[in-house]
Symmetry: C2
Subunit: 424 residues, 2 copies
Amino acid sequence: MIAEIIASGSEMLTPFRQDTNSLYLTAQLNELGVSVAFKTIVGDNLEDLTGAARVALERADIVIFSGGLGPTEDDRTREAVAAALGVELRRDAQIVTAMYKRFAERRMKMPENNARQADVIEGAEVLANANGSAPGQYIDTVVGRHRKIVVLLPGPPNELKPMFEAECRPRLAATLPERHMARRMLRMALVPESQVDARTAPIYKKYKDVDTTILAGSAEIQLHFVCAKPTEAEAQARVDELAEKIEQEMGEAIFSSHGESLEEVVLLMLGLRHMTLAAAESCTGGLLAQRLTAVAGSSRYFLGGAVVYADRLKTIFAEVPEELVRDEGPVSEPVARAMAEGIRRRTGASVGVGITGIAGPGPGAPGPDAGKPIGLVYIAISYAGLSGGTSVTELHITGDRERVRWWASQHALELVRQGLLERT
Amino acid sequence: MIAEIIASGSEMLTPFRQDTNSLYLTAQLNELGVSVAFKTIVGDNLEDLTGAARVALERADIVIFSGGLGPTEDDRTREAVAAALGVELRRDAQIVTAMYKRFAERRMKMPENNARQADVIEGAEVLANANGSAPGQYIDTVVGRHRKIVVLLPGPPNELKPMFEAECRPRLAATLPERHMARRMLRMALVPESQVDARTAPIYKKYKDVDTTILAGSAEIQLHFVCAKPTEAEAQARVDELAEKIEQEMGEAIFSSHGESLEEVVLLMLGLRHMTLAAAESCTGGLLAQRLTAVAGSSRYFLGGAVVYADRLKTIFAEVPEELVRDEGPVSEPVARAMAEGIRRRTGASVGVGITGIAGPGPGAPGPDAGKPIGLVYIAISYAGLSGGTSVTELHITGDRERVRWWASQHALELVRQGLLERT
């Protein structure tokens, strides 16, 4: 069974907006064992939309439309699909009544053209919309000699997703052969994609029944495994077996074996060790703190810290001796070390992080930093107590300001994680 | 003239990857006066790709392909387009020689199948690739009785964009009627979209020759104006005239009249006033600092600040009296005020910002914050010197943790901007 997804809406034919529903729908269809072969984006003009519907009915078994179900003149999906199927639209009295009731409850008069939303394609089942007024439609029919399933869903993701799950997925599942999917995701930070592929391909290529996808980006590699089997237990067993072999090969480079983010893993590891973290950030300017505090519940293990962008603040908030900044320059190994140790002492955290570097666009400032290149970053991690000590890592990160800052925050999290691994 | 963009590549039919080239290509085509009526995404299978090419040649005047020009068996765009046009592929000896030379220069042997990249569609002009080995192709032909322009571009954006600009755009411009485009963008923060539309629609609807798009999202509204005229001066004059009228209507709600970000505007305004900023952030956890420091050159006007997530840090870094936190609760008007004033004093900045709130997922902690709802945020702005004083704003932000944090940072920036407007 092959599917086509058609997103309708003129705003998705501008340089500003992208169709995103299709990513969700593709994941859902794949879970049902259906591949997506085509995606089409078309405006809200009836002729184009009808043409796109005709083309899709010829080349796909399942055609899913998103958008164009509202009450306005621009909402033409119902008409286009009826025309492509060569059937009529009928206004459903029950839907009209329900709409009048909804408006009356809010003491509003229903606009005339709202009734267009009650136009149902001959032979269609109506799909209830829990989060909006436009109902969806589900058509299981025969075109030529081929069975075709056509689904009309509303465009807003908060209406489309619940409607797919409650109304559409069960109908498709009842129609399609039973399949059970299992998924796993392994995540690694800062390992080159080529190295991951060279080391893991000989393993995952042996699992021909598991679909493996490697995604690289933002200083992270993700390995996605998907497997479909007649029972869930069989699918899960295959995916877990492969994941375990990959984990043996890549070892502690894998920070997440069930999809958790690096921030979540670091916070979890701190919690297990009854430890807390604080950070003094210069070139990352709060990015590390912001990433950690984006995780719900982070306040128990991340105390906070300081954004010591101006040199004077390094002294005020992180106890970096003034003469150290003056003599070595703010971007230096000793200053990073002093920042990590100072912020740890000041906050009483078990682990202190200090980050200083040159994010660009210009190289180091005049003085001791003169001539230091864009991308030079020092990250210091300082531990309190018995397992104490401070280590500083010097990095040379390529790319623009945004990339240098992101990779520096990623390195800092990964260095904290590796340090915690040794402190069980 | 109507265009269709076809992105080929099976990875774009997974739930993980999206076609992004089409946004760039749409902007470029619009500038040339061409509307995009269809976008198609198709896998790298020859039959599907040929079918998609045939459909596009029927419904569009200009068809632009991206991807599928590499040397592997999965790169089938050349073959598909030749089949759809009913013409032959010819291996171009000159391209083959150039490829051999390139490999020889690197002392490498060229793999056999690399020569596929030299297969040129009958009647096509070859487009040089400055950043990769796969050349593009440009075909200006007649199908049936209709003139059709077909362009094949490589998939990687760093190859596609320079090739479009250097090789494709000039050819299209020479073919199409001369047009000059002018653009403007106005930006507003925190104003409801419905209000912007109600107030601006009566104005922009009178400018039928200017294409107006309103985009809302992330606590910001953007108004995009595009106008095409025979000369650039005419186009610019129309766009500027409309922008000026909208600026008169919306007044100081518009933070940016040439597209600058809110962070950039705030930093610029601080610079003009020889002022500096520092922030003490609780619920936003460094997000405000991170947004400001993402702007190159921000270090001159943003000194830094403290992420005072743990209560004790509010006292250590922002001089908030311990008993104030204990009695009023960390999420309270007096604590926000003390944070803003404290961080200003400690850092010596001209403006201090204090943000405290409940980002969720849970409501206020036991103690004085018990019962305070998710989304309650206090933002204090404190000014030094002659124009001194501190103001605190209480907000109730709806949505999840991410949204509460983002809107709080947006409100803080907008409040700083409005405060600076009064201090010229």
